[in-house]
């Protein structure tokens, strides 16, 4: 029943030949920009900037008595990032345009080297983001285990207090940077064009830029360790920030660099979603994950500039001796707190919303039911995004800022739990009289709902000012946001990876190892963080290296579980390496029998995504409706007539077999 769109302008069928012919290559493959050159560029840039900084500022006294020159460090890092971007080839196109020359045409590549290049293929960028995010996550995870090692004993120390506080700051900052892109980076970039029926991103170079500056941010924030770390934790509160040593420069430059990447990614994804939807992809048919990404983009583009401004002021305070945050010179330590949390609280939802979207996107596939209350789900995420700009001062309830405004911020904070609670309306409603298949992604969905409930409810405790007097700044807060970010976002991320990796890489993940990963992750996650609620309630502040001896048992339970939690990630790594490289099993095009548009593409997805721009018929949640239209007309039937594709390839979605008729259907309950 395909609509013939062969003659429609702009939907030309490329067949097996790419639209852009590969340019004539002169010289070696290795001479073109790639990550190796980026490293060279970063090193050269750093040395150049450091040398320049010493020249222009070498005579001045450095206020921190560390022998470090903040100007040299900041300029070194900034030039290093520029060198990294130049080395990867990010500047080739704009510079060529700037001098009026025609930039070299993009080369669609197929070899493995494309993962180390500045590419315009959103699927390659998605895979790059995946490796980048996992690198961030595992680095931060190792630091977390170092923290838990220190907290095994109330008084015996493994690290000195300076090393410990450097580890705490590094862990927090790396994890927060990672979490801003954890789902939006890999899955958002990889899936969005496929889900909306587009062949490309709106701004593919901007997308690639967002990844390569994100990876530069990783190197910058790691460089803090070389300069002695920073003592402020991830919040970077100001008077302490001003007196800190060189590692603080890495924090400020690193967050600014990551922030630029976040803004770039947000603009690109938002423009893509708004402008590149296929014909028929109306706003009421857009997959719910795309709604989540769109709401996140609003936060990425609107909240992050506040962080950039704060970081810039901080850099100026530390180098040019301005006094934005220095109270005795007319600045205010409250200014940093306001600017930081004005970004920081929307950032929390930058992390949470993609997780919501992913869970709601996957749930109908495993319940074989339509998504319950689609409109409420979309409205809820937009409501969260809007309200998140009005709650930031709940981080400052005891700080003395606007104390009379606390009832207002208590109200806005509690109001935000209404749209957040829609997650449960939607998920529980979808579970009603469903047919639940307990594959690994479904287990992660249920795990996410369990954890996020605890995380969300404890958030209500924190928003209540009288209770907050006790729990503010204690391990209770720390447990709360680990339940929302790790228990919510990271569970959703791994569920999403087990769900989408067969499409992304074309290879099936091992089912048994996936389920082992879930159970170890779930059990040890809860054993690690639940005791910390009690620890906080019993009076242990965050970020301390010594604590009351009567809290040792609870801390030790948490520490031991944290090591086992770390080990559970090894199962994922083993599974990944085993399933992708050592013993790969080819995945079918649509292993989960999903109706989603992204699953109707062949595996591996060709670089142009769709042979024809699909015409969308309905939202992708029409499960359990025998006569429902296929989600989209992929325009293959005329091609069969023309002999371009075979009949088998032209099978339309929506005529899927019932899952329990297939051979690989496994109705086992969620036990190993």
């Amino acid at each position: 029943m395909a609509i013939d769109i062969t003659e429609t302008p702009g939907t030309d069928f490329p067949g097996e030949t790419p639209i852009h012919q590969p340019a004539m290559r002169r010289g070696s493959e290795w001479l073109r920009p790639h990550m190796g050159w980026a490293v060279v560029g970063a090193v050269v840039g750093y040395l150049l900037g450091h040398w320049f900084g010493n020249i222009i500022y070498g005579q001045n006294t450095v206020p921190q008595n560390t022998g470090q020159n903040n100007v040299a460090i900041v300029l070194g890092l900034a030039f290093g990032v520029a060198g990294w971007l130049a080395g990867i080839g990010a500047l080739t196109y704009p510079l060529a345009k700037l001098v009026g020359r025609e930039p070299p045409p993009p080369v669609p590549e197929t070899g493995w080297m494309r993962y180390f290049r500045y590419t315009e293929d959103h699927k390659v960028v998605g895979m790059q983001y995946l490796i980048g995010v996992l690198t961030f996550l595992f680095t931060g995870g190792l630091l977390a285990m170092a923290i838990r090692t220190q907290l095994l004993s109330p008084t015996t120390h493994v690290f000195g207090p300076d090393t410990y506080i450097a580890i705490v700051g590094e862990h927090g900052t790396i994890m927060m940077m990672m979490a801003t892109s954890a789902v939006v980076g890999p899955l958002g970039n990889w899936l969005t064009p496929l889900m909306i029926g587009s062949r490309r991103m709106a701004f593919p170079r901007l997308e690639s830029f967002s990844f390569w500056i994100f990876s530069a941010g990783y190197l910058v924030i790691l460089s803090a360790l070389a300069f002695g770390g920073f003592p402020t934790g991830w919040t970077g509160y100001a008077p302490l920030q001003t007196q800190a040593s060189g590692g603080m420069d890495s924090y400020l430059v690193g967050f600014a660099v990551i922030g630029i990447g976040m803004i770039a990614a947000g603009f690109n994804l938002a423009c893509t979603i708004i402008n590149y939807r296929a014909p028929g992809m109306t706003w009421s048919r857009v997959p719910i994950f795309v709604w989540a990404v769109l709401a996140t983009c609003a936060l990425l583009t609107l909240a992050t500039p506040s962080l950039l401004a704060a970081g810039y002021f901080g850099i100026l305070d530390r180098t040019a001796q301005t006094a934005f945050f220095v109270t005795e010179h007319g600045g205010s330590s409250f200014l940093w707190q306001n600017l930081f949390w004005f970004f920081g609280h929307p950032e929390v939802y930058i992390m949470a919303l993609p997780g919501f979207g992913l869970v709601m996107e996957m749930l109908p596939v495993f319940t074989r039911k339509p998504l319950f209350a689609y409109r409420v789900a979309a409205a809820g995420m937009i409501g969260v995004a809007l309200l998140s700009f009005f709650v930031w001062q709940h981080h400052l309830f005891q700080s003395g800022i606007n104390p009379d405004m606390r009832p207002l911020f208590m109200l806005t904070t509690e109001l935000i739990s209404i749209p957040t609670g829609f997650l449960f309306l939607v998920t529980l409603g979808t579970l009603w009289k469903a047919k639940i298949r307990f594959d690994a992604p479904m287990l992660f969905i249920l795990g996410m709902m369990f954890n996020f409930l605890i995380g969300g409810i404890t958030g209500v405790f924190l928003s209540d000012v009288p209770v907050d007097v006790t729990v503010h700044g204690s391990f209770f807060v720390m447990a709360h946001f680990h339940y929302t970010i790790m228990g919510g976002l990271i569970f959703a991320l791994f569920g999403g990876l087990y769900f989408y990796l067969p499409k992304m890489t074309g290879k099936t993940m091992n089912r048994k190892l996936s389920i082992w990963h879930f159970w170890t992750f779930f059990i040890f996650f809860n054993l690690t963080f639940f005791p910390l609620f009690l620890v906080g309630l019993l009076g242990q502040p965050r970020r301390v290296f010594e604590y009351a001896p009567n809290l040792q048992t609870l801390n030790d339970i948490s520490s031991v579980s944290a090591f086992l939690l770390g080990a559970s990630f090894l199962i994922f790594i083993v599974n990944f390496v085993w399933s992708q490289w050592i013993n790969p099993t080819k995945s079918p095009d649509n292993p989960w029998n999903s109706l989603g548009l992204e699953w109707q593409t062949p595996t591996p997805v060709p670089w142009y995504n769709f042979e024809r721009i699909p015409v969308v018929n309905s939202d992708p949640y029409h499960y359990g409706e025998p006569g429902a239209l296929p989600v989209a007309d992929l325009g293959r039937e005329p091609l069969v007539t023309a002999g371009v594709v075979s009949k088998e390839e032209a099978v339309q979605p929506g005529e899927l077999e019932s899952p329990d008729d297939t051979d690989d259907f496994d109705p086992r309950p969620p036990i190993l």
Binding site: Q398, D404, S417, F450, R543
Partner: protein, 327 residues
């Protein structure tokens, strides 16, 4: 399986997504069953919590504000338990009852399964009512006299009803707290001693970075900001010692920034304060005069601090003295 028996009975009532506060729909016996399980479990767990765990919730009832925080915490738990039980019971029920089985019925799709106006509106109404109640309750508890023990900035509006308030200044500095008693000549000590049954105003400030004064058992928490006076009130009820910890990351020795305070009787306090005032009289003379905030001495790194009414950039070192024209 009962799912099979009810396969045809899906209609308007299908989709009751909430076992929590949701009155069940007419013909949905799953809904009734969930409602009954939820009601029974909540009716058991809530009183058990309130009777057995409630009285022992930290930080205890050493002061008016600590007691208030514990009361609030318990009310929130009592409200949270039915919500959590509701969601968990529903999830467990779904996992057991609605798991896929070979030959089991296919779920019914269509607009009725995808939307249910009644369920959605009642969910939104119930959560909104609950949330507005919580905000109202929290506000009521906050605007009581003493303002729940949190830092209220320099001009607190929720002040104790008592006419006699003992001011104690808490000075955070890297990495210890010191305390000044302005009504006893302004002596400065590292010991925090407070009288029982007297309203106390903690004036919290800092000499360097942001600290946070957390008198754990007293239920008092206020940030110590440089050049800011942050006031928090409480009235201690019980005698004994309490822990003071810094609750805002303030540098490498943040974890070691704590000490113990003591609540003593009024008479003991008078004796202690007067004795200490005399013993420290020589030191007090060297201190800058009492002020709500202090500015670091900009003239040199001699560790001097000035009250804010003195020009810290004076060309002359005038440690502890009032400058002409400084008011």
């Amino acid at each position: 399986m009962s799912v099979a028996a009810e396969g045809g009975a899906v209609s308007e009532g299908s989709g009751a997504p909430q076992g929590t506060d949701e009155p069940p729909r007419k013909e949905a016996s799953h809904g009734w069953r969930l409602f009954a399980i939820w009601l029974v479990l909540s009716a058991i767990v809530d009183p058990l919590y309130y009777i057995f765990a409630g009285p022992h919730i930290p930080p205890g009832r050493m002061s008016s504000t600590a007691g208030g925080a514990v009361f609030d915490f318990n009310i929130l738990i009592v409200l949270a338990i039915p919500v959590m039980i509701g969601v968990w019971v529903y999830m467990a029920y779904a996992i057991i009852q609605w798991r896929a089985s070979k030959g089991g019925p296919e779920p019914e799709g269509g607009p009725l399964a995808a939307n249910n106006f009644k369920i959605q509106t009642s969910w939104i109404t119930i959560t909104t009512v609950l949330v507005l109640f919580l905000a109202g309750f929290g506000t009521y508890e906050l605007v009581q006299p003493e303002g729940a023990g949190g830092g209220q900035g320099p001009n607190p509006i929720w002040t104790p009803t008592s006419n006699t308030v003992l001011p104690i200044q808490v000075i955070g500095q890297q990495w210890k707290f010191t305390y000044r008693y302005p009504t006893f000549g302004g002596f400065e000590t590292t010991q925090l001693v407070v009288p029982q049954g007297v309203s106390i105003a903690f004036h919290v400030t800092s000499l360097d970075v942001i600290h946070d004064f957390w008198a754990y058992q007293l239920g008092v928490k206020a940030d110590a900001n440089p050049n800011q006076d942050n006031v928090a009130f409480t009235t201690p009820y019980q005698l004994g010692s309490f822990v003071v910890r810094c609750d805002e990351l303030c540098g490498i020795w943040h974890g070691a920034m704590y000490n113990n305070g003591a609540v003593v009787t009024k008479d003991q306090f008078e004796v202690w304060a007067q004795t200490t005032e005399k013993a420290l009289a020589a030191n007090t003379k060297l201190l800058p005069p009492f002020a709500y905030t202090y500015t670091p001495d900009a003239n040199g790194a001699d560790g001097g601090y000035y009250p804010d009414n003195v020009d810290p950039y004076s060309k002359v070192e005038t440690y502890g003295a009032t400058q002409p024209g400084s008011g």
